[in-house]
């Protein structure tokens, strides 16, 4: 387009759009920063987030070995590595805004000119980076202990499934963050109750196909269910046990990612509106 064709208003809108993006990007990096540096400054995560999950992986690995199915230890190792993301999403995404409110950060986030979505994106990005490192450590240790071998069917598809799973998973976390904020005590109690059953049906330590179509289908609402199944198909083709073909899983993951991101955006706007009307986020007694 010729520059002469652009009206002054279009210039203003264009520069505002760029300014909003720049502000959003800085917000994302700013909020991600504490999560990333805390991984280096709080070494106790090695025990809680690597040593304990590795012990769990070892336990399930030996169950498969003792049952004469050592080839499934790879499922367990991958599941253990991905479980770190689920835990991170539940406790450091979904519950995070609730804690931010307690410390007074939430008010300051809301008062900033940047959208809260960028704050959540920063939390997600920082959490993902820090957890990716922990996940890789679990994967390496588990693979070494059980001598897991991987047959990569398609590296691009594997990466695509992983990225889509992460986007959908952290989108879910962002949406839950608003719900936790709105109904914190009630949802907190529900999370405590459903955390383990949800982890079970997601199939972290076994192929979700074993649960049957109905339960597996319901469990697919949690993006890790299909994400794990798809990644296992890309890494352990010789074992079969797939729940759905990779193409369908990718399509569903795309849908889930979109659904949760839109849901997160809507619920954030809703909670901010309700906060302004009812004072829920700014008054301790509310």
């Amino acid at each position: 387009m010729d520059m002469m064709d652009i009206s002054p208003n279009q210039h203003v809108e264009g520069s505002q759009w760029r300014e909003t993006l720049r502000l959003g990007w800085r917000t994302l990096i700013g909020r991600a920063y504490p999560r990333i540096v805390s991984a280096a400054r709080e070494p106790d995560w090695v025990f809680y987030e690597v040593a304990l999950p590795v012990l769990q992986v070892i336990a399930f690995g030996f169950v498969y070995k003792s049952l004469g199915r050592p080839q499934y230890t790879g499922f367990v190792v991958l599941g253990g590595a991905m479980l770190a993301f689920w835990t991170n999403v539940l406790w450091s995404m979904a519950g995070q805004l609730h804690w931010e409110r307690q410390t007074g950060n939430l008010e300051l986030y809301l008062m900033a000119p940047s959208s809260m979505l960028w704050i959540l994106a920063g939390m997600a990005f920082g959490g993902m980076v820090a957890t990716l490192f922990r996940s890789i450590v679990i994967l390496l240790i588990g693979s070494l202990i059980f001598g897991v071998t991987y047959q990569i069917v398609s590296a691009p598809l594997l990466i695509l499934i992983f990225i889509l799973t992460m986007v959908a998973l952290y989108g879910l976390g962002s949406m839950l963050a608003s719900l936790y904020l709105m109904y914190n005590r009630e949802v907190w109690a529900i999370q405590e109750v459903v955390q383990d059953p949800v982890s079970l049906v997601t199939g972290f330590y076994f192929p979700v196909r074993a649960l049957g179509g109905v339960i597996g289908g319901l469990a697919s609402v949690i993006p890790l269910t299909l994400g794990l199944d798809g990644m296992r198909q890309m890494l352990f083709p010789q074992l079969g046990q797939s729940f759905l073909p990779p193409g369908i899983e990718i399509a569903i993951l795309c849908g889930l990612a979109l659904l949760f991101l839109v849901g997160a955006s809507w619920s954030l706007k809703y909670i901010e509106k309700m906060a302004k009307i009812e004072g829920r986020l700014s008054l301790k007694w509310q």
Binding site: E19, R26, V37, E107, S282, L283
Partner: protein, 348 residues
């Protein structure tokens, strides 16, 4: 025309008949929400604060100070009435207003203890789109100004309460706001830390014309020392506003003086009471120091009052005018009849 140009020359803050009613929740079920009782936090508040003013908002716990600040910082909507920040409606121009404002609250625990002071300030600067280079330059200036230069690389969790609040002040100023809201910023701080906060707020305002501060405080001397004007809020209503001297003068019906005398004589008090223009006289003899407090119809009668003392054989050692304090003004306007009840209320 952009939102920031809508009202050139507008006051920094203006509220017109602002009301805010809270409906507390008595319980929640997923099937619905039970209705709770209503609390009127603000009841027709009208205020105008010009650019460049340091304005104090005084009131007891639960008077409505924090609610007003939350409305002006776009965190709450007024139930009715209008509120403007730099001429912008708080309901319509949320983002333009947020670019212009910052807030510091007393006892604030914001941020992340694992970060250093510098990192914490940098992080908040990012939320306002400040470039890293500009942020670090500003952070250095601010930390030096509030005496935290040596703590720049110290972890936030290791800071004392006073240091933390000075850091919070830097956090608010790192985005270079035009209007600063200080909600009891010195509560719980020691004398030195309070002094540093107060001094820096004043010098920050002087650095650039047009910078405005709305301060809420329970410390009357703080308001007296800092504020150009104050408003006193009680039960959600502004009961008085103006310059502190004017409020004090408004309280004082009579000119009050205190004499210190060389010796005690019972006749002084009676003679003074008979003297022209004297409304009341009270003699005190405390630890050997004799003093007389008198109230005059106006200050012109001070000469005749002194002559009366001299003629009665008294010798005046010192003479001073007694000015009412802001605390007296506050107590007169707000009273303390339900103080115990108010002390137990949450800040709204």
């Amino acid at each position: 025309m952009t939102a920031t140009q809508l009202y050139p020359g507008a006051p920094a803050i203006q509220t017109i008949d602002v009301r805010r009613v809270y409906k507390s929740r008595s319980g929640f079920t997923f099937g619905g929400q039970k209705a709770g009782k209503s609390v009127t936090a603000l009841d027709g508040v009208s205020l105008t604060i010009q650019k460049g003013e340091l304005f104090g908002l005084l009131g007891r716990n639960g008077a409505g100070k924090t609610t007003l600040i939350k409305i002006l910082t776009t965190l709450l909507s007024p139930t009715s009435g209008e509120a403007y920040v730099d001429g912008l409606d708080v309901n319509k121009y949320v983002i333009p207003i947020r670019k212009k404002i910052a807030m510091v609250s007393g006892g604030e625990q914001s941020g992340y203890g694992i970060l250093t002071v510098r990192e914490q300030l940098w992080m908040f600067a990012q939320f306002y789109g400040v470039t890293s280079q500009a942020a670090h330059k500003k952070i250095d200036q601010l930390l030096e100004a509030v005496g935290l230069g040596d703590q720049a690389n110290q972890k936030v969790y290791a800071l004392s309460t006073g240091m933390r609040q000075r850091m919070n002040l830097c956090r608010a100023l790192v985005s270079d706001p035009e209007i600063l809201f200080l909600d009891e910023p010195t509560v719980g701080l020691d004398v030195e830390a309070s002094r540093i906060v107060r001094d820096y707020v004043r010098s920050w305002m002087q650095e650039k014309p047009g910078r405005t501060v709305l301060l809420t405080t329970h410390y009357m001397f703080e308001a007296d020392e800092l504020c150009d004007r104050v408003a006193i809020i009680n039960h959600g209503q502004i009961v008085a506003q103006g310059e502190t001297d004017d409020l004090k003068k408004g309280l004082q019906e009579h000119a009050r003086f205190q004499f210190e005398l060389s010796e005690w004589a019972p006749a002084f008090e009676e003679e003074l009471k008979q003297s022209r223009g004297v409304v009341s006289a009270q003699t005190m003899n405390k630890k050997g120091k004799v003093s007389v407090q008198i109230a005059l119809e106006n200050e012109e009668y001070i000469t005749s009052a002194m002559q009366t003392i001299s003629s009665a054989g008294g010798h005046v050692l010192t003479l001073r005018r007694i000015e009412p304090t802001l605390e007296e003004v506050f107590m007169r306007l707000v009273g303390n009849s339900d103080e115990d009840k108010a002390a137990g209320e949450d800040e709204v």
